[in-house]
Assembly symmetry: C2
Homo-oligomer: 474 residues x 2
């Protein structure tokens, strides 16, 4: 394998324009994994940074001939190990394919290459009076291609949906190097299977997306911000359930617990943790009177759930700072030690119950769990933090991780709301969907990746043979 | 085949509860096709009306053993032949599985059986202060199961999306009779491939949907109505493009031409055709002042495009009557003779151009084409009407049908916006997606339907062998 793979790197160097193949071992190493601290990764045989679809096609064709795995990556901000290299693979980084091809104001769509950074697209759309909603907390760094691969969510998704809701169509390199167009440019369309939708969230296991057509909305409406502090996680969770029960759809409803508030304070000295234990940030954006009513309703929900302090923020700069702090929670916590990130999603009314179970698990396993959450849609991110040297704590954290996954499933939830399965949630996926549906996954993977080269081993393990009597295989 | 199929009917009669298998030949014949007047259909070996998932599983298992095709149907209001029987098949009608299992006000979702009529679901949701948006013109008769099979659209989809946007999860019978749950109940989720989304719009070719979990919205906001008459189709099309360019998202924007207006008048004596040649009906639903501004903007677009008469309707009953007339257009035109229904969708700004091309084709081929359209999202329904005895006109209409499909593709559009491919758009689909993407369809079909029993021959032809060098097969 090593010899053949070295041969491939040389072959790619020969057939691609100069500068596409990375040679520096340190640079190559930096492309070997994403930000899922605890997921295993291997050593790539080659790292390539293509600039055109034709180059991607060439790479895929050569890898298909040799049966060499391909691992695609955007900015590498993934949190499940989905972009982690396997030994001897070719890593394709899309960072140099970062053109915004077009923005069409009248049709309300944009065509972009996969390496465009999420915030850059949003900024460019804003110049045309348009809005690309999906806003993962990684938006300043993560790319649209990576967002498509994981069907990324974000803060405004509670009202405006996730990446899949905005992907109309795409160009992709599939199979053994075929370039195809999937989906459409029109507002509606039901011509055949929803292959574009299938590619979204498939984590690079079915092909490589080389261009994306996204639907846009009109310029974002002005938002009102509601702030509440609570004594306990569960009380904050009850405020979230109260908002759902009140029938209000906030444009964001974020939870940040005391561990995260302190981590941000320690880093940026914002004084957030002085206000109370758990912070809920609500936003709403209906126009005019309707928006006033929404904001008042959310405030009443905070109060009725026992907020220790709550108010409607009247200072837009203060509100922006609070949401900036929310986005900093993850990197702030990362400064404390290796972080194992959960991404469970439960029915909204069960947010308090799920938070209670997470707290119980933290106590039981004696580990430090910080919580941030897109609480409004039930998407919780318990962050398990250990000190680098404490191997025992690390093992307990891994057990707690799986237990939280099981509790989410038990509550009718899912193991991953927006980060994807990657490597970290493979057991959870199996648990959640069961053997028949997993067999359907394998059958689709086999059907659309006959050479078996696209990110093998992510989402589910490969290589198992079908059991006797099994309908879907392999 | 005939003997074996007779055997199957007897077997089903034996293993299913009494009254499930239909025996009356006239009743059986009525289940042999949908409303796609010109699509071919065969003679089913058995027609079954199951009441429970366990019965559906039993039917699928027996058909899989014998390799007998299964054609599922809801109310049979399809317009592409997707529910047409093939010789010797088992037709499964879901009309008796019509329970609304639950409506959850807090989580904003409903769980329904596939035979629930679209309007019945909307009515039940309204009682809980909730709204199920997808509203095909067939809503008084068509079922959610059929809507899911075709990814049905409708009037409000221009603002609120289509069926797929509301399907969170489902129970389905797949493969050789396995019962599975696909999708989720939570607001977000990226655990594995989007198999629920793949099932939506797959026209019964990948399995049978036996229960559906749909997302709901809060009670529908009050709408404002804007009415405009235009001299020509193209002028009305220009008003549609103007609305898009103005950045207004109407909650409906429907076009009805003079042929349809007259057909409705002849039937219901509403005097609609006295107002002018082509009627545009716009609606918008932003709350308060924002809604006033939207309505004014739409009215200005109508005026600037040369409306011969236009106004904001202030009488809600009159507005309701106008939209009721829109829904009657199709059945009214059907009274005039066999109708071949188009369903092309083009970019919004190209609606005037597409309408011009349709008019040119009508003249060139000397056929009667009436037009209704969900114009706001570029989804046009040219209706080709011929007299029952005129075989030559029928042939010309079929040629015109294919030509319109080609023109839509040439304008960057799709052959079907919301009716599905069925039998009538198979050539169009092939033209639109090309051989590689069609091969991906076949590969998925083979992977998820290993027994080859689910609605074979719909969407694409089956039985072709892969060409040499073809990546995707069979």
């Amino acid at each position: 394998m090593a010899v053949m793979s070295e041969g491939l790197a040389a072959e790619l160097e020969r057939v691609l324009p100069a500068g596409r193949v990375v040679h520096d071992p340190d640079v190559m190493a930096s492309y070997a994994h994403d930000e899922a601290e605890w997921a295993p990764y291997g050593k790539p045989a080659a790292v390539v940074r293509p600039r055109e679809t034709a180059e991607v096609r060439e790479i895929v064709a050569r890898c298909a001939e040799r049966g060499v795995p391909i691992v695609a990556r955007g900015a590498g901000t993934g949190l499940s190990g989905g972009a982690n290299a396997v030994d001897g693979c070719v890593v394709i980084s899309f960072e140099a394919m970062n053109a915004i091809v077009s923005i069409d104001r009248n049709e309300r769509l944009a065509v972009v290459q996969p390496g465009v950074v999420n915030d850059d697209l949003r900024r460019a759309c804003a110049e045309h009076g348009l809005w690309y909603p999906p806003d993962p907390a990684s938006a300043p760094w993560s790319t649209i291609g990576g967002n498509v691969a994981t069907n990324a969510g974000g803060l405004c998704c509670v009202k405006y949906g996730v990446t899949r809701d905005y992907v109309l169509g795409m160009e992709a390199v599939v199979g053994r190097g075929e370039v195809v167009r999937l989906g459409r440019r029109t507002a509606k369309g039901v011509a055949g299977y929803d292959l574009a939708g299938l590619m979204v969230g498939s984590e690079g296991t079915l092909g490589l997306v080389t261009e994306i057509t996204v639907r846009l909305r009109g310029a974002r409406a002005e938002e009102r911000t509601i702030v509440g502090y609570f004594d306990t996680l569960v009380a904050a969770g009850e405020a979230v359930a109260a908002v759902a029960a009140a029938g209000v759809v906030p444009s964001a409803l974020e939870l940040i617990d005391r561990h995260c508030l302190r981590a941000v304070d320690d880093w940026r000295h914002m004084g957030l943790s002085e206000g109370g234990n758990v912070l809920l940030l609500g936003r709403c954006d209906a126009p005019g009177r309707a928006g006033e009513e929404e904001a008042d309703a959310i405030l009443r929900c905070f109060e009725s759930a026992g907020a220790t302090w709550s108010t409607r923020s009247t200072d837009p700069e203060e509100a922006e700072a609070l949401f900036a702090a929310r986005r900093l929670a993850y990197p702030a916590v990362e400064r404390l030690g290796p972080v194992l990130t959960e991404d469970v999603c439960v029915p909204r009314m069960l947010v308090p119950e799920m938070l209670a179970r997470i707290e119980r698990i933290a106590t039981e396993y004696d580990i430090h769990i910080a919580n941030v959450a897109h609480a409004g849609d039930g998407n919780l991110h318990p962050l398990m933090i250990t000190s680098p040297e404490d191997e025992a704590a690390r093992e307990r954290a891994q057990e707690a991780f799986e237990l939280i996954v099981d509790e989410a499933i038990a509550l009718g939830g899912t193991v991953t709301g927006e980060h994807g399965v990657g490597l970290l949630k493979r057991r959870g996926l199996e648990e959640e969907v069961g053997p028949v549906v997993l067999g359907m996954h394998r059958a689709i993977k086999e059907a659309l990746d006959p050479a078996g080269i696209f990110n093998p081993g992510k989402v589910f393990a490969v290589g198992d043979r079908p059991s006797p009597g099994q309908t879907f295989g392999p």
